[in-house]
Each structure stands twice: as C-alpha cells, then as structure tokens.
C-alpha cells in the first residue's frame, strides 16, 4: 500500500526525531567532510607528507570538497522548486532525456529505460528532473559493468495521471519510509534530497509521491493531478 509521507517542506522542525535526524545529517554529511578538509590541508602543508601518502590525502580532501559541492547543488535544486509551467508533455520523451543525463553520469552502467509514448499534463523540465532522480537512484547502485533496467508506466487517474517507475535496485525506503523526508538518507550515505525533490515536483502539480512498499513489486508512483 502507498506510504503517506508527511509534508516536511511546510512542517516546522519540532519533533525530537526531526531534530535528531538533522543533528545526524549535520554531523555526518557536513562536519565530517569539513573536518577532513581542514586536517587534510594541514597535513599537505607538512614537508614529510610525500609520495603515495600525499596522493591519498590530496584525493581525500578533493573528494570531501566534491561531496560538499554536490550537496550544495542538490539543496539548490530542491530550493529552486517553486513554480511550475504545466503543458502537454510526452512521457517517453522526458524519460529518454533523463536516461541520457543519467547514462552520462554512469558510463560504466548500461542503463535501459522503457517508457510509453503517451502524454500527460506536467512541466516538461520538472517531469524530466523527477525521472533523473529516480533513474540515478537505480543506476548508482549498479556498479561497473552492470545492466540497469527501469520500467515506466502511466495510467489515467481522476484527475490527472499516475506515473509508475520500477527498477531492480535496492529500495531502502521499503524498510524506512521516512527516507522521503529531506536530509534522510539510506545506506548509500547520499545527502537525502532525491526523493524529496520528486515529492516536491508532484506537489507543485497538485499531486503526491507514493512509495509502494510491496516487497514483490516495489515501485514509486508520481501523481500528477494538475
């Protein structure tokens, strides 16, 4: 059955659980890389850090900087989601564009997307963005040389349409539906923004994001009601 997420975007952070989650996010996703960068730069200043040791420290510092940059970008993506411009958009075209974006991110993964050639009313850019988030989740866990298949289906619903996205990747939200909340991340340790972006996009279309926690057929439903 669909899980009903709470509206984190408009609900004040007031519960102990929310605070604990934010503290964990700040600790692991912010404090740890900042600490690594500060210490790493100090170590790189030392004359006796040479050779492979220097390369390892240099790489770790760069990875930490890149991680913080990715998080800032993701948060910026989320915060920019304020308006929508719905029009007739072909789901297959949006899915194909998203697949190209994600395939470029993971060149070692063979990503295949099946999507129907039907139209729904949605903002084309935002529909594509939602697909990018979900396809990225699927491809990210594949690993080098893996084949990742995503199946998109569409059904009419009064009002609007339901877009279902299925893949065979791990779905951490099967065990923890709160992962749809901003900053709550699964085992992969990402910033915890992707599903929140998808939910926000559907809300901008007067719809909702539903995580269907059927262990035999887990999938995500994007409801576009506008």
């Amino acid at each position: 059955m669909p899980l009903e997420p709470t509206d984190h975007a408009t609900t004040p952070i007031e519960s102990a659980r929310d605070l604990a989650e934010l503290r964990r996010f700040c600790s692991h996703s912010l404090r740890e890389p900042i600490h690594t960068i500060a210490i790493g730069l100090d170590l790189l200043d030392a004359d006796d850090i040479v050779g492979e040791q220097r390369e390892v420290i240099d790489r770790q510092v760069r990875d930490s900087v890149a991680g913080l940059e990715r998080m800032a970008t993701r948060l910026s993506d989320y915060l920019r989601l304020e308006t929508t411009d719905p029009t007739e958009v072909r789901v297959g075209d949006a899915a194909a564009a998203a697949a190209r974006t994600v395939a470029a991110r993971y060149p070692a993964v063979s990503l295949g997307v099946d999507a129907p050639d039907v139209s729904i009313v949605a903002d084309p850019m935002l529909l594509c963005s939602a697909f990018v988030e979900l396809f990225d989740n699927a491809a990210r866990h594949g690993g080098e040389g893996s084949i990742c298949h995503v199946d998109v289906t569409v059904t009419a619903e009064d009002p609007g349409h339901v877009v279902r996205v299925r893949d065979r990747g791990p779905h951490d939200w099967l065990d923890d539906p709160s992962l749809v909340e901003l900053f709550r991340h699964g085992r992969d340790g990402g910033p915890g923004v992707g599903l929140s972006i998808c939910r926000r996009i559907t809300e901008l279309h007067e719809g909702s994001l539903r995580l269907v926690a059927d262990h035999a057929d887990p999938h995500v439903e994007l409801v576009f009601a506008s």
């Binding site: 503290r23 600790s27 692991h28 740890e32 600490h35 690594t36 500060a38 210490i39 790493g40 510092v61």
Partner: protein, 124 residues
C-alpha cells in the same frame, strides 16, 4: 627492556588515520597500526589485542557501535580500552556504563587526546 604499547586505529578515512598516527607517535612507547573496515579491525584486534583502540562510528561495512559490541562480547578483546573518535553531535551510542570506552569529539584536540591516552595507558 619495556615492550612498546600498541594502538589500533579503525577508520576508513585516511586523513583521520594519518592525523591520529602523527599525534600518537609523539609517544615513543606507542606503536600504531590501522584498519579501514570494521571486519579488518576486529580481526586485527582479536589476533593481537591492542593496548588502546581508536574507533570511527561510520565504517563502510558495519557501524562502530557494532564493532564495539563485538569486541565487548569477545573474551580476547573485551578488556581493550576504546576511544570513539567522532564528528557526531549526538553519537548514537551509550558508553556511560562502560568505563573502558571514551568519546573524543572531532575536531581532535591534541591535548585532550594525550590526556585520554595517558590516563588509559597508565591503568594497571
């Protein structure tokens, strides 16, 4: 001749490992080794129980909390003093009832580290 004391650092972040190694080697009587995963760290600790163990809470294969529980449940490592080094503002681990376990927050205060090491290694 006194045998050197041993410290084991379990942390997958090489920057943290190197920092601890540099701070600890200020003590000439301390030899340091490291492991980048919980499994590797537990194996090293069981094979050669260190005099002191530094533990990160976020390891790639298991949590530091599980590493600590496994150590305390194993007779060969139950007695090893553990220093949890963490950037967590609210570490999800209870150590109040464990006199052998300490918390050392990041960024690491070198003076505090030395005090913890001295206090731990001076115990009989």
């Amino acid at each position: 001749m006194t045998l050197p004391r041993t410290a084991l650092v379990i942390d997958d972040n090489p920057v943290n490992v190197l920092l601890l190694e540099r701070l600890l080697t200020a003590r000439s009587d301390l030899e340091t080794t490291s492991a980048s995963s919980g499994t590797e760290g537990l194996d090293l600790a069981r094979d050669n129980p260190p005099d002191l163990l530094f533990l990160d809470l976020h390891l790639p294969d298991m949590s530091g909390k599980d590493v600590l529980a496994a150590m305390r449940a194993d007779a060969s490592t139950a007695h090893v003093p553990v220093v949890i080094v963490t950037a967590d503002l609210d570490p999800d681990i209870a150590i109040d009832d464990d006199p052998l376990t300490h918390l050392l927050p990041k960024p690491i205060d070198a003076d505090r580290l030395v005090r913890v090491v001295d206090a731990t290694l001076s115990r009989p």
